[in-house]
């Protein structure tokens, strides 16, 4: 058995001992490029997962894949190992833009991979990034329509975000990123996206995720509904309720440090923080308001913090949130302003 396999299995065992027997609704191979993993490793991991926890009926098992031929060649093997959903990072439907995004595949390669995926798995989703450099509104509308012509059941449509500490962020800081859309153009693109997808029967159920009703990613819904999830493997985050307390966990990010930590300390964990009631409240808000369904008020008030009443009133008056007996939601106008809404709700 190779060292990686040993380490993964040891980590599953460790987390399994901590959580005790629970029912798993989903498994997600994500972060980076899990499709590069050997089929055998995916198979071993899923086998050990089944031995450790009880899998629910039609448990969702997703794998994130890059649309290259090498990775597509392994789809059948992944399916036989138990994977029943793939999410493919296609990102753009034109080659120059793929290059600018730093992607190694071409559109035609992506189309082949998508076809293979559709022939192999029942559930296939793909990702596109929009509001890219020099992209116009009509260009994006045309590209999105082409994507919808491929008849996916699930689509992730992300606006390009420039974050500090990423390759894009560094280039942006150096002034090397031109032609990014203005706030107004990106708002126009966002609203056009909602309209087109609604029309084609793939309404958004979260800020950037669209699905034919029933095809939502069950796994990601756990994040947004602030359920428990265990993080296994390098750089994996988790949220676990243990003995009535909620913990945030993280493992070592660099694969080699993770590996040596697992073998030396019998654990790859680097962070285990008890999350205060206040922080739980903040996390529940920031995750839950992303969903069209919003947050169950009963979940918010079960914790001893409540939203600032005057903020709620102001946001309601501005038509950005709605509150009824059961739920707190961002309105369609409020959703693209979620960060501002959160800042307002969290004011003292």
């Amino acid at each position: 058995m190779d060292a990686w396999e040993t380490a993964f299995l040891a980590e599953i065992d460790r987390v399994g001992r901590e959580t005790g027997p629970r029912v798993l609704d989903s498994v997600f191979f994500g972060g980076g490029t899990p499709s590069l993993m050997p089929v055998r490793l995916v198979d071993r991991i899923l086998t050990r997962v089944r031995e450790t926890w009880h899998l629910s009926n039609n448990c969702e098992i997703t794998l994130e894949a890059n649309p290259t031929s090498i990775e597509a060649d392994k789809f059948r093997g992944f399916r036989d190992a138990g994977v029943n959903r793939v999410s493919i990072g296609i990102q753009a439907l034109n080659d120059p833009d793929l290059k600018k995004l730093g992607r190694l595949h071409s559109v035609s390669e992506a189309m082949t991979a998508l076809e293979t995926a559709c022939n192999t798995f029942n559930r296939v989703s793909f990702d596109l990034i929009y509001a890219r450099q020099d992209q116009s509104l009509p260009e994006w509308q045309a590209e999105l329509n082409r994507a919808l012509d491929l008849e996916p059941d699930h689509l992730s449509l992300y606006q390009l975000t420039i974050e500090d500490g990423t390759a894009f962020g560094d280039r942006f800081a150096k002034g090397g990123l031109r032609g990014l859309p203005s706030e107004d153009l990106s708002a126009d693109m966002y609203f056009a996206t909602q309209e087109i997808c609604d029309h084609k029967g793939l309404p958004a159920y979260e800020v950037s995720n669209h699905a034919r009703p029933g095809q939502e990613s069950r796994h990601n819904l756990i994040y947004w509904n602030y359920g428990d999830y265990a993080g296994i493997g390098p750089g994996a985050h988790g949220r676990l309720t243990l003995d009535g307390e909620k913990y945030a966990t993280e493992t070592h990010l660099a694969p080699n440090s993770w590996l040596s930590s697992v073998s030396a300390n019998r654990s790859g964990e680097s962070v285990r923080d008890k999350i205060s009631e206040q922080d739980q409240y903040v996390e529940r808000l920031l995750m839950g308001l992303r969903l069209h369904g919003g947050i169950l008020i009963q979940h918010l008030s079960s914790i001893s913090f409540s939203p600032n009443a005057s903020s709620i009133n102001e946001l309601r008056e501005n038509g950005l949130i709605s509150v009824d007996e059961t739920r707190l939601k961002a309105t369609p106008e409020g959703r693209p302003l979620l960060n501002a809404i959160l800042r307002k709700l969290l004011e003292d």
Binding site: D184, V207, E250, N318, R343
Partner: protein
């Protein structure tokens, strides 16, 4: 006590950056006043802010011993002075304590506005002037041209001027010889009753108030009792000494000498610069002329961003004022900003220096409101009010007319930029008084309103002339003009901290520029915000800041929750740097930046 004929006292004066402090370094080093290993560049610029900005703010005195080529030992007292126009007062005051000036001129630049201003001060003080051509190591150095310019523009002999590189040390010996041979020795009578000039005073955390003095007549010894003639206050002298450049105690100071005394004086406020100091008993009856005190000319409000820090701000302002008599303050309340202080400064650089020190040394984030000058408001009933703050403008029906301070500005500029300079002055309501040439450099004299100059005139001048112009000014008089108060309304609420006085003819233009600026400076909110400029009840300019349309994180999964929560926390702290006006958050720097005009 040093024999009078062996003393030389001088100030080093020049335009900004022409190398005064560097020359002082070389004089200190060449005479071994400080060991080589303890030298550092511009060692007299000891305040953090001086070192950071590379400028001198406070004049510094140093005593050096020099054995001249004639074999005699001399005592030289040098005063390194600041070059920036805001601190011109330091220069003229220093000059009163010495007999001569080294006039340093950067030989790659030539005569500039403060070169001229300093020459006038030196002439007023009856100084012998020794011109020094500095920076001869630079390729652009042109001693012949600059010497000619000095003769043309200033009218002092400069053909034989000493050529120096304060950087490499070339010409330093010659400079020392010229100091000994060309500057006059001080006069004075050691047997006459004590008469000393209080040149400067400042607060030292260990020693209390330190007083810089120049002995005119008589002698001063440790332990003697002295009297300050303006207040009649008497103090026993604890310590006397000289600067080398650190303090060194000595037993006695005699006529012609410069040094310091400490005398358990509690506050700098208890001393008057220019005062005459004598012995308590058998003192002199002659009082020195004294100095005109430095008057603050630029006023602005300083408010803590966090209202809870008001007391800390009071504390820091009081401490800084202890050491800086030219900085004034009084409490101010603003409807929009709460409690703060209305502060007066010598100029914008002085304002920036004080503000920086409060922010850094006392760690208080500040909102600085629009700088203003003092207007004279003549009321119908014949009384006159000094208006330091536009927000206090009285009811117009009670006002007869307003007067504003005017200045005489001297600008030196290479010919090719003259057009831009004239346009700038014209735009700022200037009246041209004179235009002459020195070689390819024009010298223009303008009569300008001070309020058009205090704020960003110097920045604009630098930018339209690519840094090639220099500028100096003196206040002249108060003059009546058509001045009005312009208010700014953000989201229909007046923000008093943004009120300014403007000339009626320029009000629309200023108002438009200001609301456009504010539209960029205020971040978008979740609702749209009208921004208006108004005179009385009449809106003269209006912009609308659109509502925010997009601010959401595209990708937020299980691995992003912690990071996103921490980011929200951080933003919450950042928001403390803004002040809320009604429902609108205005960033602290907006108050100043709204006034900057791109012309």
């Amino acid at each position: 006590m040093t024999e009078l004929s062996k003393i030389r006292n001088f100030s080093i004066v020049a335009h900004i950056d022409h190398g005064k402090s560097t020359l002082a370094d070389r004089l200190i080093q060449e005479t071994n006043t400080v060991a080589d290993r303890d030298m550092k560049e511009q060692m007299l610029d000891s305040m953090d802010i001086e070192r950071e900005r590379g400028i001198t703010i406070k004049a510094n005195t140093v005593r050096i011993d020099y054995t001249a080529e004639d074999g005699e030992d001399y005592v030289l007292n040098l005063i390194d002075t600041p070059g920036h126009v805001d601190f011109a007062y330091e220069v003229s005051r220093s000059m009163r304590a010495v007999e001569g000036s080294l006039l340093v001129v950067d030989s790659s630049q030539g005569v500039e506005a403060q070169t001229l201003a300093n020459v006038y001060h030196a002439m007023e003080a009856d100084h012998e002037i020794v011109p020094i051509l500095n920076k001869i190591d630079l390729p652009a150095s042109d001693c012949e041209r600059v010497a000619e310019q000095i003769e043309d523009v200033i009218g002092i002999e400069a053909t034989g001027a000493i050529q120096v590189s304060a950087k490499t040390g070339q010409g330093i010996r010659e400079t020392l010889e010229a100091i000994v041979n060309e500057l006059p020795a001080p006069k004075g009578d050691a047997d006459a009753p004590l008469k000393a000039m209080l040149v400067d005073s400042w607060y030292d955390a260990y020693l209390g108030v330190i007083v810089l003095i120049r002995i005119i007549d008589g002698k001063l010894k440790k332990g003697e009792r002295i009297r300050m003639m303006s207040t009649n206050a008497v103090y026993p002298v604890d310590r006397i000494g000289v600067f080398r450049p650190q303090m060194e105690s000595i037993d006695e100071l005699g006529p012609g000498e410069l040094g310091f005394l400490t005398a358990s004086i509690k506050q700098v406020r208890d001393t008057r610069v220019g005062d005459t100091i004598t012995h308590e008993k058998k003192g002199t009856t002659e009082v020195l002329d004294g100095f005109k005190p430095a008057q603050p000319v630029v006023f602005c409000g300083l408010f803590p961003v966090d209202t809870a820090e008001f007391e800390d701000l009071r504390d820091s302002i009081e401490k800084l004022a202890l050491n800086d008599a030219s900085f004034s303050y009084e409490m101010e309340t603003s409807a929009a900003l709460g409690f703060g202080f209305r502060c007066g400064f010598l100029g914008l650089l002085h304002l920036e220096v004080i503000r920086d020190r409060i922010e850094r040394e006392y760690d208080i984030d500040l909102i600085t409101t629009a700088p203003s000058v003092i207007y004279h408001v003549h009321m119908r009933d014949g009384t006159m009010i000094e208006l330091h703050n536009p927000a206090d403008m009285p009811d117009l029906t009670l006002v007869d007319h307003l007067e504003e301070p005017r200045i005489k500005a001297t600008i030196l500029v290479p010919d090719e930029y003259l057009g831009d300079v004239l346009k700038l002055c014209q735009d700022r309501r200037g009246i041209q008084e004179n235009l002459t040439y020195a070689g390819s450099r024009a010298m223009v004299v303008y009569d300008l309103p001070l309020n058009e100059v205090v704020f960003d005139f110097y920045d604009r001048l630098k930018s339209v002339t690519k840094g090639y112009a220099s500028f100096d000014y003196v206040m002249t008089e108060y003059r009546q003009d058509n001045l009005v108060k312009m208010s700014v309304l953000v989201n229909d609420e007046p923000v008093d901290a943004l009120s300014t006085m403007v000339h009626r003819d320029r009000a629309e233009m200023r108002g438009r520029a200001m609301v456009e600026k504010l539209k960029d400076l205020i971040p978008r909110h979740m609702f749209k915000i009208p921004i208006q400029a108004a005179i009385g009840g009449k809106v003269i300019a209006r912009e609308t800041l659109s509502a925010m349309r997009k601010d959401v994180t595209a990708k937020c999964y299980g691995g992003d929750a912690s990071r996103k929560r921490k980011l929200l926390d951080k933003q919450k702290k950042g928001k403390k740097k803004m002040r809320q006006f009604g429902r609108v958050d205005i960033p602290q720097e907006a108050f100043i930046n709204a006034l900057k005009m791109d012309d």
